[in-house]
Symmetry: C2
Subunit: 93 residues, 2 copies
């Protein structure tokens, strides 16, 4: 699990090129390259801009690490729900 | 990054033995086995019980996945802060 946490940190830092925030372009690139199969519209610029707007709680036009982790948390919970549903369905067959 | 998210989900599910919640014993085991080097008192039952109490927002005496992800988020942000500080110090040398 610790390696998973370090992956979240290092992937963000490489996308932000060591800076504390992701601008719109680097956020787009991170989403399309990292979440292509988890997020339906990961390649859709407008949809990703909307996600960015929702995350940017301090409205500085960028996404900082804490804001980013909220997205990761939501995706992780959605992934968990999917796993539980999948397990339930395979048990009732 | 997707593999990191799947690791968070599968590790929780294996610790909870497929159930939706972790009881105190399985939470203790997960923390001591997975976060030993990230959390100072990961082996201290009392300290881990306190963390569990803080996470258990619905007070059902267990930790569900969403409550658990809040801990992972906090650890990840702390890890990121450590990385940034470490980079800053090595740049000023």
């Amino acid at each position: 699990m610790e390696s998973a946490i370090k992956t979240l940190v290092t992937t963000f830092l490489s996308s932000s090129k060591g800076k504390e925030n992701l601008d719109s372009k680097s956020f787009q690139k991170l989403i399309s390259s990292q979440f292509g199969s988890m997020m339906e519209n990961a390649q859709d610029k407008e949809a990703v801009d909307k996600v960015m707007g929702d995350l940017d709680s301090n409205n500085d036009g960028e996404v900082d690490f804490t804001e980013f982790i909220i997205l990761v948390g939501a995706l992780t919970v959605a992934c968990n729900d999917f796993f539980l549903e999948f397990n339930e369905k395979s048990e009732t067959k």
